[in-house]
């Protein structure tokens, strides 16, 4: 079966308004989703580095990656029959209820 990566982007500011109780609820929902299907990986805590080559010079700048304040919070690798199936699974993730976005990418097996 093809493998897919689900990349979870979010704006950390979204989380700041949650109460402790709501944070716990969020963790429980995420964990319950993972239990259903996935092998999960987490990225390190900082927003990462972006590497660019401009005018022959390679520069690594701090993330975020684009103009938004979003950071990549973590990713999961899943197996699915095809893209549609992978997207369907991603759509059931609570991340979307908390204002986050999920990027779905197919990973080619070596």
């Amino acid at each position: 079966m093809p493998r897919y990566m689900l990349l979870l982007h979010s704006d950390p500011a979204n989380w700041r308004n949650l109460s402790p109780e709501e944070m716990q609820k969020a963790i429980e929902k995420y964990t319950a989703w993972v239990k259903k299907s996935v092998d999960s990986q987490r990225l390190t805590e900082d927003a990462g580095k972006v590497i660019r080559r401009q005018g022959g010079q390679t520069r690594a700048t701090d993330g975020p990656y684009s103009e938004t304040k979003e950071i990549l919070g973590g990713y999961y690798t899943i197996e699915a029959a095809n893209y549609d199936e992978a997207v369907k699974l991603a759509l059931s993730h609570p991340h979307l209820d908390y204002g986050g976005t999920i990027e779905v990418r197919q990973v080619w097996a070596m």
């Binding site: 402790p20 995420y30 964990t31 319950a32």
Partner: protein, 425 residues
């Protein structure tokens, strides 16, 4: 406490309760004037959990993880903000030292309970208004969010946020400390703590849209704070009386609304739905409240709740005992609302006519004129006497008064039955 039904991994309300004790803990370390820093530190620890656990899984000892990460966040924040000036490095050393000790250890638990207790006592300082004390207690020791507090009080988020800001400013400008007051001041402060807890409980207990769990949470938080004070060395018999009262009332929470979310009066409640564990807790504290000669209002109210709890069904209720207790309560607190409740007991013992006579003198009370319960009781007693047109007038007036939706639906049903019943019944 039970584990969450969703994953079975985390204890119910773990974050809320840990937030409360962590805020109390860091406030002791940073000092009350840095309460904001304590709150930010705790939020940071919880945010990190939120950013890690969904991917790495929930750590085995979740509370200890939060505690440890909180200390690391505190060290970062103290260094970065330099709020503590020359004391910064000493504080960092203290934070590093206390990061090693873990919740669960009996000594640490005792220290944390003491931190929480001092925190409540500071939140209930007489310089702070009662409304602000309630909000501040819920926010700090309770671990509630601003939005949750606002929803529980049917208030605006910004109003609650402002109330909290003002209270914290007062803590700074008046230099309030976490020192326990001594001597007669301790008694006064304890009274104000009990008053705040009682108010918190009543706010949660007031019947509103049945399914709103936040209000039930408010009751249970008041009960938890009551337990905390009752378990401390400064507990007096009236503290146990208050805990008894709250536990006995909270035992009936589930039975107060039916499937449709409609109100079920005490006498029609399915008593098998009363929580036997809370009832047992209630009686336990009621017995403890009996040591000493003190008879507070909480004692009498707890005795009334206990009399109800003892009756296996509503017919077995010993109303003459309850009437005696209301007489006693009225002598301690001659308020029209107590007199109104007493009139209900009178009607149970001597009949509706006597009950009606007992509320007659209350009609001139301005406090009661627009109080829906006064008019509802009046309507109910008139109905029992078959004076239906007068009953309908009272019930219609009750419906016009401010009250919650389930209460209004209840009154409307009563009014309907009053208008359809044949006159000669």
């Amino acid at each position: 406490m039970s584990a969450s039904p969703e994953t079975g991994l985390l204890l119910e309300h773990l974050f809320r309760h840990q937030a409360g004790r962590m805020v109390a803990h860091f406030t002791r370390l940073f000092g009350p004037s840095n309460l904001d820093l304590a709150e930010e530190t705790v939020q940071e620890a919880m945010l990190r959990a939120l950013q890690t656990w969904p991917y790495q899984g929930v750590p085995e000892n979740a509370a200890a993880w939060l505690f440890r990460v909180g200390h690391n966040a505190a060290i970062d924040a103290v260094r970065r903000k330099q709020l503590l000036g020359e004391k910064t490095e000493a504080m960092v050393a203290e934070l590093s030292r206390s990061a090693i000790v873990l919740p669960g250890d009996p000594d640490v638990e005792e220290q944390l309970r003491d931190d929480e207790l001092r925190m409540i006592f500071m939140c209930c300082h007489p310089e702070i208004s009662r409304d602000a004390s309630v909000a501040l207690s819920l926010k700090t020791v309770g671990g509630f969010g601003v939005r949750e507090i606002a929803r529980a009080f049917l208030a605006d988020d910004t109003a609650i946020a402002q109330r909290l800001v003002r209270a914290k400013r007062l803590i700074r400008t008046q230099r309030l400390t976490l020192e326990m007051p001594q001597g007669p001041e301790l008694k006064r402060r304890l009274d104000s703590v009990l008053d705040v807890i009682y108010f918190m409980f009543n706010e949660g207990y007031a019947a509103h849209e049945g399914a709103d769990l936040i209000r039930q949470d408010l009751c249970l938080e008041a009960l938890r704070l009551g337990h905390l004070v009752a378990a401390s060395s400064i507990a007096e018999p009236r503290v146990h009386a208050l805990v008894a009262l709250m536990a006995l009332q909270a035992a009936r929470l589930a039975a107060r609304v039916d499937q449709a979310g409609d109100l079920v009066l005490l006498e029609s409640q399915d008593r098998s739905r009363w929580d036997p564990q809370l009832t047992a807790v209630g009686f336990h504290h009621f017995n403890q409240s009996m040591s000493g000669d003190e008879v507070s209002e909480f004692h009498v109210q707890a005795a009334i709740a206990a009399t109800h709890a003892r009756a296996a069904n509503s017919q077995d209720t010993d109303w003459s005992v309850i009437l005696n207790l209301y007489d006693q309560l009225l002598s301690l607190n001659p308020s029209p609302v107590v007199a109104l409740n007493r009139a209900v007991a009178v009607s149970k013992v001597y009949g509706a006519a006597q009950g009606l006579a007992a509320i007659e003198p209350l009609e001139s009370e301005s406090k009661l004129r627009d109080y829906y319960l006064f008019l509802a009781v009046r309507g109910h007693l008139l109905m029992e006497l078959g004076r239906l047109p007068e009953a309908a007038v009272a019930l219609r007036a009750a419906i016009e008064c401010p009250c919650s939706e389930p209460e209004r639906r209840f009154l409307k049903r009563k009014l309907d039955s009053c208008q359809t019943e044949p006159q000669d019944q």
